[in-house]
Assembly symmetry: C2
Homo-oligomer: 214 residues x 2
């Protein structure tokens, strides 16, 4: 179905459109905002809030999360360790493609393993990769339990659940650490915006130039 | 690695950003331009030329092709019939995600089977899906043979090569048919632009409003 049949025949088509032209067009540099943390730490909420604010500010942003990808690209994957690893690998690769296309991609996955996050960072290549660690205690996450998953894990109805009977490896050098039990969404958004500017994804703009939220 | 452990627990996060807001932001409607045709029919050339012109006109566009995807997302796939089928399935799903993010995605794959193309169309959901059939004779493609693949197939060095010893199923109702042996790139671009306008991806604009190519 494709026209190259062995790795010998593969050639990279760099394309006619440079990253500079895309950045100029879109008023931003494509990049990946990789949220990581326990279930209930606030990944989906912050991802959607950041996307909403970015689009309101006329930036092209898009959230990838497990719920959505599991319905499409990753619908062939189950929940074995290998399949969960492949799930995260594909997320990293799709995020890299979207960042290459000029988008600010926000991913919301527990992604508990350092090696898997490192692989996603490497996939992004030259695009900024902003690892945001939602450092919220297990106690808080269990109390929130927005999807009732901790209760199910406690009851033994799901196994290998991160924080219960599977490990979470905290990032060693994340670009940003947020504790959503002490900061509200607005504060978190301000800190994420500042981080995106610091890493060249957003151009620093005086507030008078900012387009009001739509 | 993700926080949903059985399909029962999956919920779709529609997000806060509507398609209307994205379309307003980006001045276009996200969609998929699916080029299909034999090796040598001009898919990569037209895909890159269309991307270049769209970005010159300040549209957000991106090419997915086999060469690039095989280095990343699809690097785990080989060339068995199952793997080639999975390759095209993933392309369709990634194109759908990118179109959902507001991009004009251009794919350049032989994609010889109707069922696989139909599946990609279904993945795109409500986003416009523009199937462009590059209807170029096998004789012309073999004479062009830009990658020397027909020569290799003839020599028996690669098997199951579309047009030689594997079938190509022409689209029955493509949105556009182009014969690159009788039309040049400029003509093809005009016809593709008109088709994108007709299907609502681009707004029809008077030429005086058009931003000159960068």
């Amino acid at each position: 179905m494709i026209d190259d049949r062995t790795s010998r025949n593969l050639t990279w088509h760099g394309g006619l459109v440079s990253h500079e032209r895309r950045a100029d067009l879109m008023g931003q540099r494509g990049g990946v905002v990789w949220l990581t943390g326990l279930s209930g730490s606030g990944k989906s909420t912050l991802a959607r809030a950041l996307e909403d604010r970015l689009v309101g500010d006329r930036h092209a942003a898009y959230v990838l999360d497990g719920d959505n990808l599991r319905h499409g690209l990753n619908r062939d994957l189950g929940f074995t360790p290998e399949d969960r690893d492949e799930n995260i690998r594909r997320v990293g690769e799709v995020a890299a493609l979207m960042a290459d296309a000029g988008l600010i991609v926000i991913t919301a996955f527990i992604s508990p393993y350092r090696a898997a996050r490192q692989r996603a960072r490497e996939a992004a290549g030259a695009a900024p990769f902003i690892e945001v660690y939602l450092d919220v205690s297990l106690d808080v996450c269990r109390r929130r339990d927005p999807k009732g998953l901790y209760a199910k894990a406690q009851a033994g109805r799901i196994g290998q659940f991160t924080g219960i009977d599977a490990p979470y490896e905290p990032p060693e050098r994340p670009e940003l650490v947020l504790d959503t039990s002490v900061r509200d969404v607005t504060e978190c958004l301000e800190l994420m915006y500042a981080c995106l500017s610091r890493h060249g994804v957003l151009k620093a703009r005086p507030s008078t130039e900012r387009v009001p939220n739509a």
